[in-house]
Symmetry: C2
Subunit: 183 residues, 2 copies
DNA sequence: TATCACTCTTGTATGCCATTCAAGATTGAC
DNA sequence: GTCAATCTTGAATGGCATACAAGAGTGATA
């Protein structure tokens, strides 16, 4: 079972690395965080990181996937909320990683690895929101359009500072206007 | 008039530098474009750029301001369009510089100079949209909220690939639901 | 015309960074 | 106790933004 033990260690180490990386990326920003400074957190050399990840971008993807899967565990409970509360929940969840969200968007043009992750994440979110809308009786095409809008609103609120009131107003307005098409 | 002649040269050179920088930033991305490669376009050394700009970020701000003031010249004509067409126009105008928009959002957390520019740009856009909405008879507070939403939609469409149909649907939906409050 | 101050440009250098490579160290399997 | 796979490291490479001080060009002044 040697193989197995190694595999376990691998995941443990990856987890530690990704947690350290997440902390530093969020505190200082992605570009301002060197591979060396992440490695130092665990008392290893920068080179060591390259045994676990092919590049700094891949490490970021690892961090993102870990955060995502943590959030995904709470998804079933979340799906029982109202649409409005689902959006609010998503927003608060993403706010915990706000700096990373901006980093991802900034790197879309330069890193295929990050773009891939981003695209898959978007599909996931859109599917979830569209599913809820369809459950409310909204036809598929319109549900998808509204899901896209919902995500744009989440991203906008995430990227730009705003008051609680602003957020509430926007979410209330969206909920009200995302009912079935009056036409 | 020596002073004057110099000042003119300064602006000419800045313009050339900013045009070269804009081209490279958009083609290869901000991080992937070195100061040296920009300088080489004009046959000078990287150091030379530092006489005109305090840093690479400041050069980016220069590029942004130049693009912005170019667009701003067309603003009066634009203000006579319908709200829907105003948003569409803004979107198409920003699409010309799509890579830079993403760069700016990615750097918000790390560069005060860029954050300042971004905040001022947002105020400008929001004021313009809110002004149009108020002219349609929507009360101030609601107009500001809808202006914020409009900008979030523009940014969302800008950052994420989409079809013409998707865009049309979203803009149509927004126009329809940004009328005076039914309540 | 000679000098001066200001504007612009460059050569050279520093320090940081991501990433590579080859060589050690560790450890389970046989 | 040897072997192979799994980790870790030291040392090096090349690129980068940026700093500094020295030079070249140019208009104004005397």
């Amino acid at each position: 079972m040697a193989k197995n033990k190694r595999d376990i260690d691998l995941d443990v180490k990856r987890k530690e690395l990704e947690q350290a990386a997440a902390r530093l990326f969020m505190a200082r920003g992605y570009d301002a965080t060197s591979m060396g400074s992440i490695a130092k957190e665990l008392g290893v050399t920068a080179n060591t990181l390259y045994w676990y990840y092919a590049s700094k971008d891949e490490l970021l993807v690892g961090v993102l996937n870990r955060l995502l899967s943590d959030s995904l565990e709470k998804l079933p409970a979340m799906m029982e909320l109202s649409l409005r509360d689902q959006i609010d929940w998503t927003l608060r969840e993403l706010e915990k990683s706000r700096p990373l969200v901006n980093t991802v968007h900034g790197k879309l043009g330069e890193s295929a690895a990050i773009r891939d992750w981003h695209d898959r994440f978007h599909s996931l979110l859109e599917s979830a929101v569209a599913h809820t809308l369809k459950a409310k009786g909204i036809r598929g095409e319109r549900a998808r359009m509204l899901a896209t809008v919902a995500i744009f609103l989440v991203e906008g609120l995430l990227a730009h500072p705003h008051t609680e009131t602003q957020r509430d107003d926007i979410l209330a307005w969206f909920s009200q206007n995302s009912a079935a098409d009056p036409a």
